[in-house]
Amino acid sequence: MEGSVTTNIALVGNPNTGKTSLFNQLTGLKQKVGNYPGITVDKKVGVCKISEDFTAEIIDLPGTYSINPTTLDETIVLETLLNKDNESHPSLVIVVAEVENLKRNLLLFSQIKDLQIPTILVINMADQMERKGISIDIEQLKTELKTEVILISSRKKTGIETLKRKIENYKNWNTEPIASTADRIDKDFFNTIREDFSEMSLYKAWLLITQQKYCSFLTEEQKVKIGKLKSDKVKIKKYQHKETIFRYQRINEILKKVYKVDRSQATDLRSKLDRVLTHKVFGYVIFAVVLFTIFQSIFEWASLPMDYIDGLFADFSELVKTNFPAGKFTDLIAEGVIPGIGGVIIFIPQIAILFMFISALEETGYMSRVVFLMDKIMRKFGMSGKSIIPLVSGTACAIPAVMASRNISSWKERLITILVVPFTTCSARLPVYAILIALVIPDKRIFGIFNLQGLTLMALYLLGFGAAIISAILLHKILKIENKSLFVIEMPNYKIPSIKNVFYEVVEKTKAFIFGAGKIILALSIVLWFLASNGPSSFKNAEADVTLQEQNSGLNSEELQKKIASYKLEHSYIGYMGKTIEPVIKPMGYDWKIGIALISSFAAREVFVGALATIYSVQSDGNNVGTIKERMAAEVNSIGEKRFDLPTGISLLLFYAFAMQCVGTLAIVKRETKSWKWPLLQLVSMGALAYICAFAAFNLLS
């Protein structure tokens, strides 16, 4: 844009201050989520037009209580603000606070202010002040903090324009530090720091010294100096404590002058709600009801859009086939690419609905209460109360679920969560379950009310959760990793969720799924299609060979085509692969055709159904005779018995329940754990479990 300069603005603040609302207000839809190099945290940036010739790129840094990080997310804040060469390093910082927790919010504010970057304080939820009986002397506060202070309500959208006007003038802001804690702790020590690091603010130097590891952007010379200064670890720790205490003292002094609360005015909805929601009995009952409601809604609301999407892609495929010039590439598009993409898109309704619920519940503050209720139980399984969100999310898709484990501060608890989440029954398993249950479980009621098929589905869900819990317990015992528990969670005030925020959150999570799983599924669909439609010489000569073979058997042209198609499949690359693994999968009750479907479902589990449809309709040469279910029911093995009978059906169900087939999940686990070891462990152990259970089931039931 001619005449405008893009400036970096960083948005920081405690969680639950409405920082994200402000971000959404400032950037609207002009935001995107990317990646920080080398670290698996999502980078949220957006563009905001401050004025005619001032366009800013705003980066929404992860919420944190202090600039000293305790989780992976929070290291981003430190890195971005301290590293001048970081591409997101800001020219100015907006610190978001809110009226009720102003004291604690000011800790982070004062830390950033002391870095001597131009900073402005935004106090959000100003519309709540009267209700809470809070009054703030803004002018006095500005003087004490030597900073511009703006009252806003991101919900009521007030104060935003004032904020922008002030930002225009950021180069003139006061950048003096405000908490002079150094001299009260140890004058000599801090003077040494001042001398050694005269090029930067004292507080910044202090932070560099007190971090656990050397920041990557330090020069060798700087590292040496730091090494000397931090040699007495006990002293440093003591000083850190003192520094924080003195910092808060300064904040208290300031607030005494400017902040008044009239308790009689405040309503106390929070304690009333807390008493019910964290109740020994009712707390859990309510949570169970909430979960049940979520799952019910997903099933009910998702099926309509899913059917629609299914039909849409089928039609699209037909369209391409009839309207494009005939040939291999057209086939690739119609039979490989379009169904591949369709297979990803079809899960969006389920995933979006689940995340809509989770995000709304988080916005209300209820999720913290759930974490509170579940922590002790989760710890018995080696996980944290915070693991409940990934576990519930895993019922939509494991990919965003694994990513949701980032706020767990203990590495061991986080690792175990990541490793067991794939056991939860994700959406992709449902089409497989649905068709197999319909085929092999009788549609009867037991005890008059319970539908047997429904019960089987529920049993499979419970099996998934059960497997997750048991593996977690095992891992907890086996893994020799230090479990340092820094469990501290804020119990925020309850509030009505903002639809806009929920919407943006859902879009983000859905994109994560689409791009995390989508690209891989698409690539695999192309590869698998190729393997199914090509083969060595026996494949190429299929038509000629079969025609020759059958020239005396008096088949009509339709039957001949069927035979050719069947022969082609058997002799395609994937057919050979299926035959190769047949001896391995036979003990579980499968044949090479099922083998092909199994291989195909490495792209995505639900491809199993589509693959079988292809195999059987390819056999009938695309005449689409009957639905896939009827075709499967009619399928017989070499001695005339039904292929999909109870033993094989149950065996397949168990296999799909346990096997780690999702390549997308493996990729994200590798990314989040930064190692090949863990996804490999998942692949092997889950595969082994699947095999053993399927084998046992098949043999026991036959």
Partner: protein, 75 residues
């Protein structure tokens, strides 16, 4: 005195005394849990862990083991 946050009953208050540097992470101080500040127990989770407290104006939940490391004087 021997009392810690873990020995509070629901609704009881105390004032935080000094605590050992090793036992308490910096992050807890940064959340406002400082010597001399008032702490009140709001709720205990079923199974007695974690504890929901109000300290220095912040509403937090901490695990019992951590609570047991913070000495207080009951008031």
């Amino acid at each position: 005195m021997g009392d810690t946050i873990a020995s509070l009953k629901i609704g009881e208050k105390g004032v935080i005394d000094d605590f050992s540097l090793d036992a308490i992470p910096l992050s807890l101080l940064e959340m406002g849990c400082l010597p001399g500040k008032e702490v009140r127990l709001i709720q205990i989770a079923p199974f007695l862990d974690p504890l929901y407290i109000k300290v220095n104006g912040s509403h937090l939940a901490i695990r019992k083991e951590m609570a047991g490391q913070i000495n207080i004087t009951k008031i």
